[in-house]
């Protein structure tokens, strides 16, 4: 079994730290779609993750975990909307996703995968990519990071290469 999943199952700090790195923000963004509140979305995600940590749930692989997380957040968001907060259950079979919500989940996961790969980049390359996403030009980035424009270009080229490889050559066109 993957080291990451094994660590999640054993409630190990390293894996749960990674889970926050790769999933926390996307899950919040996902919950916010339904809840339309940044703060409530964060609360629901936090509560759900704590519940999973304290439960005896075990995951077979990353696919299992990923879909489980979306479903749990979805259910808890819907639950919240319905009862305006009474329970934060993590039952994963409460709701079948409607077509629209299914599409929203697929979309979130597509972007989450890019995000995960960005999170895994070395520090400097990640900074450069984030600044590009933010709309900054190569020159601006060079100034902000106090490195040469050429370094920015090289690092960005390498970063994009890594991202493309790791997301199986999907079009990542947000980069210049």
């Amino acid at each position: 079994m993957e080291e990451f999943i094994e660590g999640i199952n054993k409630r190990e700090e390293k894996s749960w730290g990674n889970l926050f790195d790769f999933y926390y923000a996307p899950l919040c963004a996902y919950a916010e779609k339904f809840l339309r509140s940044h703060d409530i979305a964060e609360d629901i995600v936090q509560e759900t993750l704590i519940k999973i940590w304290t439960s005896s749930n075990l995951f077979d692989n990353k696919r299992h975990l990923t879909l489980y997380l979306y479903k749990a957040i979805y259910n808890n968001s819907i639950c919240y909307l319905r009862s305006n907060r009474e329970s934060a259950e993590i039952t994963s079979n409460l709701e079948e996703l409607s077509e629209t919500d299914f599409a929203a989940t697929v979309k979130e996961e597509l972007f989450r995968r890019l995000y995960e790969e960005i999170q895994k980049l070395p520090e400097q390359r990640r900074k450069i990519i984030l600044m590009s996403i933010d709309g900054k030009s190569g020159k601006e980035i060079a100034e902000l990071l106090q490195i040469s424009l050429n370094t920015v270009k090289v690092q960005k080229f390498k970063a994009v290469g890594t991202l493309k490889r790791n997301t199986k050559n999907t079009p990542i066109l947000f980069l210049l």
Binding site: K10, R11, E12, E13, W16, G17, F20, D21, Y24, A25, P26, C28, A29, E32, H38, E42, V45, Q46, L49, I50, W53, T54, S55, S56, R63, H64, L67, E96, L97, E99, T100, F102, A103, A104, T105, V106, K107, E109, L110, F111, L114, Y115, I118, L130, I133, D134, G135, T167, K168, T170, P171, I172, L173, F174
Partner: protein
Amino acid sequence: MSEETRFYTTLQSIINDEEQSVKQLEEVRELYHRGDASTDLKRYYAYDKEKAYRMFQRSTHRTNQRKVVSRVLYVAAAAAILLGIIIPFLGKQEILTPSTISQLPVIPALSDSLPRIKLANGDIIEISDTCSTICVEGVRATINNNTIQLSGSSENTALQINEIIIPRGRQYRITLSDGTSVWMNSESTLRFPDRFTKSRDVQLKGQAFFEVVKDGRPFSVTCSVGTISVLGTSFDVKNYEGETTQVTLITGKVTFKDTHNEVTLQPGEQACQTDDGIKISIVDTHRYTAWKEGLIYFDDNLENVMRNIERIYDVKVVYSCDSYKKLRFIGECSRFQTIDEFMKLLSLTQEFNYEINGNTVKIE
């Protein structure tokens, strides 16, 4: 097709830019290939995941491990001792800390002595290991592994005070007739009435962790030095003869009163009864409640560490030289089946040798 399969097949086909039959998915595909993922990714950076993770760690009591490590560095002079003990467990510790997982750890019996119930009339009933039910005058108890469930008696008899005695080498979880749970550590005695009336009063010798059920009636624990009063909360009381009495509060609120003083504790605080009165300090509560999860936690000189071990394994420790008593040890491990396993671990530090002879452990 299962939902999981459908989900991942759809993801893959969008990544591969394949035709989609459902309208909503067609939109996702277009969005994904349109080329502006920036807006979508930017939303993610509006969340503070570091802050969220710190909150998460606090809720799941995960800061404990780091403290152990930093303490190790702090007492660098004793590093040789510490590293030997700490290292074998660092890897394991997270698995071994089920304090927030709501499973009852299986705590093995480490001695052959059996717990006993002493009735008001002086009769003593031994509780056997197998599942059974005891139904005698004033006491109805169901025993299952290391739990004992007590039920209240009828109200037309005179109130009787019974006693439950947990010997060395054993730990039991008792449920009182009001639903309150009491985890009793080795060599501890609890006196309780056969039913609770207006108030709920029990007496304790030794160590126990209480999870008091709120039912409107006050609950009080009296020990040799004072009384702890609560309404509904969880806390640990340690009151072994010849040792400092400690009350550690986990949740809720308790007051602790001895002959001269009265203090109120907040969660995470501990009251110590000393000759100069009651001292309150903020403590790492895990340290004082680890025992009920089947763990042995220690951070003390060898003499005090072994005093606890004597109770856990029902042994007697002798030293060939008093200087060993002052060696300091820090660590956490599971309550091993035998004293030998524990001693083997301590002796990894190569600070001493040991010999086990029957119930006597000789440190030399």
